[in-house]
Amino acid sequence: MKINRTNPTIPEPDVTPMIDIVFQLIAFFMVISNFEQVQADERVKLPRDALAKPPEVKPEHELVINIGYVRDKDGNILDKTPYIFEPGAEFRVPDYNARLQQEKRLYRAQGVDPKDVTVVIRADADVPTGLVQELIRMAQQAEFQKFALKAVQKTE
């Protein structure tokens, strides 16, 4: 009887479908990743409004200011004092004047007129309005003139 000898070969799995799927996943995560809103602070709970539509034309220069409360994971306010959040630093609103003056000098050094810079205020829904107005007044003293208030788009 003749025995059929087969060559012992190493089985190689077909990786093509896996690569297809993995590339699809990478493309998906790249598309939905938002690299623009890096200046947004997660601690700020913005007010919601139906008319808050994302701007069609993004301003060329914008200075984003986050003002809100220190909150726990459930969103409860831990400290009654509102702070301006920056990466690695927190400022009380009256102490932010020096920082705004510094921003003005930085824009000037880059050859940008502070009048052309839009100050985007991301204020928490529970922050007293007077503080936001004080912040605007301080920014006006630093020669900023354009302001935008942020709100989250409310969907029906």
Binding site: I19, S33, A40, A50, V120, D126, T129
Partner: protein, 165 residues
């Protein structure tokens, strides 16, 4: 001279392992850096320097509309006022404000929309969410997905002193 009659034609297979390594690294990077952020919108505020004194004669055709928001001590809305009219402090008050603004400007999109300026005068301790509601009510209304704009210029009154105590 001997000529090779047949060369062994081998199928060249590219090395897939390094590529898969890198691709998985990329995948993990994008998965970890993913932050789901809801779309945010802007309300532009018109606050040029010296705003209180810049009310010149040319703007007299379209007088400023004044919206006042009075606060309770806990920061909630006590009363919403348009001019001298009290509109209430509930959800319907903002809808009434929206209608009043429309009455004041007449037809949306006309000269009144461009020229009329709304001044928002809010108490110091009022929660910011009510100011956004008032700004929204002054800005216009949504018709389907289209924004019907009533007023383009919105400004704040000078800030008030914080309540004592």
């Amino acid at each position: 001279m001997e000529i090779r009659s047949h060369t062994e034609s081998e199928k060249i297979e590219p090395q897939m392992a390094p590529m898969i390594d890198v691709v998985f690294q990329l995948l993990i990077f994008f998965m970890l850096t993913l932050k789901i952020i809801e779309p945010e919108g802007n309300f532009n505020i018109n606050m040029p320097l010296g705003a209180p004194s810049s009310a010149t004669m040319e703007e007299q055709n379209f007088p400023d509309l004044k919206v006042k928001l009075r606060a309770n001590p806990d920061g909630s809305l006590a009363a919403l006022m348009f001019g001298g009219t009290v509109l209430g402090n509930d959800e319907a008050a903002f809808e009434r404000l929206n209608r009043k603004i429309l009455e004041a400007i007449g037809t949306p999109g006309g000269a009144a929309t461009k020229e009329t300026e709304v001044e928002i005068d809010a108490d110091y301790n009022l929660d910011f969410r009510y100011v956004i509601r008032a700004i929204s009510a002054c800005t216009g209304r949504m018709q389907g997905k289209q924004l019907i704009r009533y007023v383009e210029k919105i400004k704040f009154a000078p800030p008030k002193k914080p309540p004592q105590g």
